[in-house]
C-alpha cells in the first residue's frame, strides 16, 4: 500500500493546461490549483456563492471538497468551507423555488394527517433543538484507494462538523399521525434530474431509525441559515450516518408501508455485508447492504505532509477524531511509524456525534524523515486498521492516515 498523504501538501499554482486533461478555457480567469495525493489529482480551487475557494471535483452538478488545513481551524467547520456534494445535474435548485414564500415541506403517504408547512411555521409549531454532528461523504478518501476505483475521486476533505439547528423529525412524523402499516420513511429534495430517465435522488430510512430523536430537520448550521449549496432552506440531519441520507433542500417526506427499492438505495450506496465493509481487492461482494454508520477515523491537522520541524523543539500536535456516535474513547499517537504509541489528550466534547479535538506533546528527535500516525478508538472498542480496507465502490475509508515530516 502506498502510504502517502500528500493531502496536506499544498502546491498552489496557476492552472494552465495541467496534467489530466484539465485545460483552462481561453478567456477565463485561471483558478489556482490544489494537488491531491494521488494520480490525476490536479484540482481547481474555485469560489462558489457563500463559499471560500474550495477544491472543485466537478462543476455540473457542483462537488466541492474542503482543504485539509481547514480542519485545524477548530472542531466546527466554517459554513463557507463546508464540502458540497450533489448527484443530479439540475442542482442546486434555483433560489426562486427556495424562498420563504415558495418553499413548503410536505409529509404525505401512510399518515392520517398529511402536513404542508412553511419553514417559519415549522419552527413555530415544533420544538427547536441543536446537535453538533459530523457529515461525511460515503466516498470520502476514495481517491486514496489502492487499487483505484471509479467514482468521485476525493481526498479526505469530503467531511465537516457543524452545529445543526432545527426540529426533530420524530415530532413532525408524530404530528402527521403514522398509519399502523408504516414501515419506512422516504426523503426527497428539490434537486432534480435533467432527464426523466435518471432516477430522482430519494433515500429511505427504516421507521424505527426515523423515530430516533437524534434526527433533525435542520434550517441552520453554525448559527446561520444553511448555505444554498448545503441544502437551504431545510435538510435532513442523520447524526453518525453518511451524508447520502442527509437530503438537501428537503421538501417531501413520504411514509410508506413497504421497502423502497429506488436506485439510490439499491444498487447505489451499498457496502459488502461484512463487519468491516471489506473484501479482497478486485473481487465482487457476494451480498450487499445499504451503507449506514461512520466507522472510526482520526486525522493529524496541525502538521501537513512534507513539512519541516526543528529537532529538539517541543510542540503540541493537534488533530480530530470521530465515529458513528458512540463517542471517541481514546486517541493514540506514534512518531515511529506505529512501533510505539502514546495517549493523546482529548479536548472538550461537543457531543458524541462531533469532531473531537485531541492534542499531544511531541519533541522531534532528528534529523531525518519521520512518519506520524494518529489512531482513534471509540467507546465500543472499535478502532482504525493500519492496512486500508477495500471495497469496489470506494466507501468507508478509515485506515490510519500517516503524515510524513522532515526533522531538521
Amino acid at each position: 500500500m502506498r502510504v502517502r498523504d500528500l493531502n496536506r501538501r499544498r502546491f498552489i499554482r496557476v492552472a494552465a493546461g495541467v496534467a489530466g486533461g484539465m485545460a483552462a478555457v481561453p478567456g477565463l480567469i485561471a483558478n489556482e490549483t490544489y494537488e491531491m495525493p494521488f494520480e490525476n489529482g490536479s484540482r481547481e480551487l474555485v469560489r462558489y456563492p457563500e463559499k471560500r475557494p474550495l477544491i472543485r471535483l466537478t462543476s455540473r452538478p457542483p462537488q466541492l471538497e474542503t482543504p485539509m488545513a481547514v480542519f485545524n481551524e477548530g472542531i466546527l467547520t466554517p459554513n463557507d468551507a463546508f464540502f458540497v456534494r450533489y448527484h443530479l445535474a439540475g442542482s442546486p435548485p434555483s433560489r426562486d423555488v427556495l424562498t420563504p414564500d415558495a418553499f413548503r415541506l410536505q409529509v404525505v403517504g401512510a399518515v392520517r394527517k398529511p402536513i404542508e408547512i412553511s419553514i417559519a411555521d415549522l419552527l413555530r409549531r415544533f420544538e427547536v433543538t441543536e446537535v453538533v454532528a459530523v457529515n461525511q461523504c460515503s466516498g470520502n478518501g476514495r481517491g486514496l484507494f489502492t487499487p483505484r476505483v471509479g467514482g468521485g475521486q476525493m481526498g479526505n476533505g469530503a467531511m465537516g462538523c457543524a452545529r445543526w439547528k432545527g426540529v426533530r423529525l420524530v415530532d413532525v412524523l408524530k404530528a402527521a399521525e403514522l398509519e399502523p402499516a408504516a414501515k419506512q420513511v422516504l426523503f426527497d429534495g428539490m434537486d432534480k434530474p435533467v432527464t426523466a430517465t435518471i432516477p430522482d435522488f430519494v433515500k429511505s430510512i427504516e421507521l424505527d431509525q426515523a423515530l430516533d430523536p437524534d434526527l433533525l430537520l435542520a434550517t441552520e448550521m453554525n448559527g446561520q441559515p444553511l448555505p444554498w449549496l448545503n441544502g437551504f432552506p431545510l435538510r435532513l440531519v442523520v447524526p453518525g450516518h453518511y451524508g447520502t441520507y442527509w437530503i438537501k433542500h428537503l421538501h417531501q417526506i413520504t411514509v410508506v408501508d413497504s421497502s423502497y427499492k429506488g436506485y439510490w438505495m439499491d444498487p447505489a450506496y451499498r457496502i459488502p455485508d461484512d463487519p468491516c465493509a471489506h473484501i479482497e481487492p478486485g473481487s465482487k461482494p457476494r451480498r450487499t447492504v445499504p451503507i449506514s454508520r461512520f466507522n472510526v477515523r482520526s486525522f493529524i491537522t496541525s502538521l501537513a505532509e512534507g513539512v519541516q520541524v526543528r529537532s529538539g523543539e517541543k510542540q503540541r500536535v493537534r488533530g480530530i477524531a470521530f465515529d458513528g456516535g458512540s463517542g471517541i474513547r481514546e486517541v493514540t499517537f506514534s512518531d515511529d511509524g506505529g512501533k510505539t504509541w502514546r495517549g493523546a489528550e482529548l479536548g472538550r466534547s461537543e457531543g458524541r456525534f462531533g469532531f473531537r479535538e485531541w492534542t499531544v506533546d511531541w519533541k522531534p528527535a532528528g534529523p531525518g524523515e519521520r512518519t506520524l500516525w494518529a489512531k482513534a478508538t471509540n467507546r465500543l472498542g472499535e478502532s482504525q486498521p493500519l492496512e486500508a480496507l477495500w471495497n469496489p465502490a470506494g466507501y468507508m475509508r478509515n485506515v490510519v492516515e500517516p503524515v510524513k515530516v522532515r526533522i531538521v
Binding site: A15, G20, G21, M22, A23, A24, V25, G27, L28, I29, N31, F38, E39, N40, R43, E44, V46, R47, Y48, P49, R56, L57, T58, S59, R60, P61, P62, A89, R95, G143, R148, V149, G150, G152, Q153, V194, T195, A196, T197, I198, P199, W228, Y263, P267
Partner: protein, 104 residues
Amino acid sequence: MNPRWLGILAGVLIAAVDSPADEWKLPPETIALKPGKGREVVLGQCAMCHSLDYITTQPPLPKAGWVASIEKMRSKYGAPVPTNSVALLADYLTEQYGKPAAKP
C-alpha cells in the same frame, strides 16, 4: 465541433463575463477534453447530463472500466447513447484518460 457543444461553450463564456455582481451565479465549467478520435461524440453524449470533469478526474481506468461506466449511464440513467457509439466512446476514453492495454 458539435453545434450543441459550441452552444454550451458560448454559454460558459458569456456566463464568465456576465455581471460578477450576481452573487447566486455558479462559476463556469472550465474543462476541455483532449483532442482525439471520438472526442465530438463524447462531448455530445456525455456533456448533456454532466460536466466533463466527471471524465477527466477519473483514475486511468482500463477499457473494461470505461465500458462499464458507459453501460451504467445507458442502463441506470437512461443515457440515449446508441449501441454503435459505445465502442467509439470507450476507445476515446481509454486512449485519452485510461490505461491502454499493454503492447505485446
